[in-house]
């Protein structure tokens, strides 16, 4: 069953996961599409190995970029950028990276164990996953996001609504109508996520960061000794890890949530716990919150495979792509076949997570090259790089200039909001379609 192809596929997945983790805007789906011509030639089990290894490694590298540069590679890394970069500015960079990497590895293992323990009960979970439960989860998460923000409640509510409105801009097939497009072809496709996150989250975060903490980029790096020491000490965060692992695992495998939502949920719950304990200081960043968001991400990356493996339901676009490849090539896309790959998936997931844990440590040491550079120049480079990435990603669909134009239009609003905590806005933007859809359904169900 396993041969040279499996070995090549596995290492290619490690490289691809590294690239998608480091580069903002290059998500797992983009890598899957780039790899599509190769995937369609592979043995079916190798396609699954490629995917599971790639997303596993991606999570480790994505977290580092968020912590060091304050740039979330995807929406799921927004909390890591928020808390992690503040810790970085407090001189706790090495500690943050090591704890979040080890925490992520532990929650990956937690996700595997939880699913193994829950196999007999999995079908029951799907039986209770109805619109009411979804509305409760989305609703409580939204309320918690607003509640725990450092803004005044009214400001957070306004930002959350504004984020929802930004999300609704464009043509909507659900309503067969356009919203705030002003009859402009530029706005019909809607606002892409990268310009919104860059202008409304990254730039305000970096501007806020400039005036606080270190002025010089200082990163001592991570060492094997540091990893071992952190591994020993991480038990102090065991309740955080269990909470994050549980929420991440659940969020990963229910349809309509995905691991991005897991991360948001785990972060929100952890922040609420920390605020209640009085240990959350907004300007300093919070280690348990960082560990929770990073850990939930990783637990969710594994559990999101469960609907595909046990019910034959692909719940992410990448999984749908895998499913389609197998299907069109006439491979057995039966639940029995998927289940027969489960043990193999677990082994490769854990193996790639372990490689991700240490490879991320190696990669992050490259960043010492920036030591002693004034942080404002680093930020300037980050922003310029992001503008370049926005153009590049947009240009993949011949819309580079449009994406830059949208960025320029949003930038003044982002600058105006630079004194606010813009996370409610970002969450409003990310959650708007889910919230709207479930709310409509609830209205019909209960009226």
């Amino acid at each position: 069953m396993f041969g040279l192809e499996t070995v090549i596929v596995f290492f290619a997945a490690i490289v691809c996961g590294t690239i998608s983790g480091i580069m903002p805007g290059v998500g797992g789906m983009a890598v899957m599409l780039m790899a599509y011509p190769f995937l369609i030639e592979m043995q079916p089990h190798n396609i699954l190995i490629f995917y599971v290894s790639m997303v596993s490694v991606d999570q480790f590298f994505g977290g580092i970029t968020a912590i060091v540069f304050g740039v979330p590679g995807s929406s799921s890394a927004v909390p890591s950028a928020m808390e992690g970069h503040k810790l970085f500015k407090q001189g706790r960079s090495s500690e943050s990276i090591m704890y979040s990497a080890i925490g992520s590895w532990l929650t990956s293992v937690f996700g595997v164990i939880l699913i193994l323990a829950m196999i007999p009960l999995l079908f029951m979970v799907y039986k209770v996953w109805n619109s009411t439960v979804q509305m409760m989860i989305f609703g409580l998460t939204s309320i918690a996001i607003i509640w725990i923000s450092k803004n005044k409640i009214i400001v957070s509510v306004a930002l959350f609504i504004f984020g929802n409105l930004l999300g609704k801009v464009g043509y909507d097939t659900y309503t067969n109508s356009s919203f705030m497009t002003f009859d402009s072809a530029l706005l019909y496709p809607g606002l892409p996520i990268m310009p919104v996150v860059t202008t409304m989250f990254v730039i305000p975060l970096l501007l806020n960061s400039l005036s606080r903490g270190a002025k010089i980029f200082e990163f001592p790096g991570v060492t094997m000794e540091g990893y071992i020491e952190s591994f020993r000490k991480i038990k102090r965060y065991s309740t955080t890890l269990i909470r994050a692992g549980f929420l991440g695992s659940i969020g990963g495998f229910v349809p309509g949530m995905s691991y991005g939502m897991s991360s948001i949920m785990a972060y929100t719950v952890e922040k609420w716990v920390q605020i209640r304990r009085g240990s959350y200081i907004p300007r300093k960043g919070n280690m348990p919150c960082l560990i929770a968001s990073e850990g939930a991400n990783n637990a969710g990356t594994f559990t999101q495979l469960v609907p595909l493996l046990f019910l034959g339901i692909p719940i992410t676009v990448s999984e749908a792509l895998i499913y389609n490849i197998l299907d069109t090539r006439g491979y057995p896309v039966t639940i029995e076949w998927f289940q027969s790959t489960f043990a193999m998936i677990i082994v490769f997931f854990l193996f790639s997570a372990t490689i991700g844990l240490f490879a991320a440590g190696r990669y992050v040491n490259f960043m010492k090259i920036l030591n002693n550079v004034e942080i404002k120049w680093v930020y300037l480079c980050v922003v310029l790089f992001l503008f370049g990435a926005i153009y590049y990603v947009g240009n993949q669909t011949l819309a580079g200039l449009e994406h830059i134009t949208i960025t320029a239009m949003l930038l003044p609003i982002g600058l105006l909001l630079s004194r606010c905590d813009t996370m409610p806005l970002i969450y409003g933007f990310i959650l708007h379609d889910k919230l709207f859809e479930v709310a409509v359904r609830m209205w019909i169900l209960y009226t």
């Binding site: 097939t173 659900y174 309503t175 809607g190 719940i315 090259i369 669909t397 859809e437």
Partner: protein
């Protein structure tokens, strides 16, 4: 011996820089080469992020192109697909849904409507069916007509109101529950939140006893027009057409329909649509 200058350990940093340079150089080499290699090929546009039927429909096209397949261009929605078609200079094809030509609710032109020059020909169509899970004994045709059942439908600005009107005529006591994605139907059917779904493709563990068509299809037991002749939209299907750019010398339809990918498609309910009808008449049926 380590040489430290301006905080940089020159020896170590040189090694690191070399590694970074090799990685970047490899990436920079791969990207243009992959673009150049696909210069004469046909790209396909995927505008649905949700996976499922549209993905499969465009994957049949990609697979049938074989060596001529270029790149899969993923855009956010059908409006972005139209913008892409207008700008690209490469041979490109998309499988667009029929409703993208319908006017918006306020009467304005649909943001996803194509110009005639981008219309290639009709692709495939399937009638809608009323389906339920095989393990739900309460989901009978009698229940569909008389009980307070819940029917899950696709939350779509064009089809949604038609499903509501159809169900109101079939059974005024039924509740029509909208779902944004087809995969949500399955979870809702499993969870028992809905009793029936209106779908074009039956999934594993589901049967579709009522078909919104003038003749029986698949496992259907009755047509919707036999069930309720006066129900509006009792003959209703979902259809795709090919839209493209720079395809002057490429007969996409012929390539797709002759391919094994199409012959062995999972969605056997979807068949060729409006074959033998002139392109002009096909276009007219779209814009009307």
């Amino acid at each position: 011996m380590d040489i430290v200058y301006l905080g940089f350990n020159i020896k170590k940093e040189k090694k690191m820089k070399k590694k970074i340079s090799i990685i970047l150089a490899t990436l920079l080499m791969i990207l243009p080469v992959s673009s150049a290699l696909s210069a004469d090929k046909v790209d396909v546009i995927q505008y649905s992020r949700a996976g499922g039927l549209h993905d499969r429909m465009i994957t049949y096209v990609a697979d049938s192109l074989g060596d001529r397949f270029g790149e899969r261009i993923v855009v956010d929605n059908c409006a972005a697909a139209i913008q892409y078609l207008k700008k690209t200079s490469r041979p490109t094809v998309a499988a667009m849904a029929f409703e993208s030509m319908a006017k918006q609710n306020d009467g304005s032109k649909n943001a996803c409507a194509i110009d005639k020059k981008h219309f290639v020909q009709m692709y495939a169509a399937s009638p809608w069916s009323v389906c339920h899970r095989t393990d739900n004994p309460a989901a009978t045709i009698s229940a569909l007509r008389n009980d307070e059942v819940r029917v899950g439908v696709w939350q779509n600005g064009f089809y949604g109101p038609r499903f509501v009107a159809f169900m109101e005529a079939i059974n005024p006591k039924a509740k029509v529950i909208p779902y944004a994605k087809a995969k949500m139907y399955r979870a809702a059917l499993v969870a028992g939140e809905i009793d029936f779904s209106i779908s074009t493709v039956a999934k594993d563990g589901e049967i579709c006893p009522v078909v919104l068509n003038d003749k029986l299809v698949g496992d259907a037991q009755i047509t919707a027009s036999d069930l309720e002749p006066k129900a509006p939209h009792n003959v209703l299907g979902y259809s795709y057409f090919f839209a493209g750019a720079n395809l002057a010398n490429i007969d996409i339809a012929e390539i797709v329909f002759a391919s094994d990918a199409w012959k062995n498609r999972r969605d056997q309910r979807y068949g060729q649509f409006m074959t033998g009808v002139s392109k002009n008449k096909q276009w007219k049926s779209l814009i009307n």
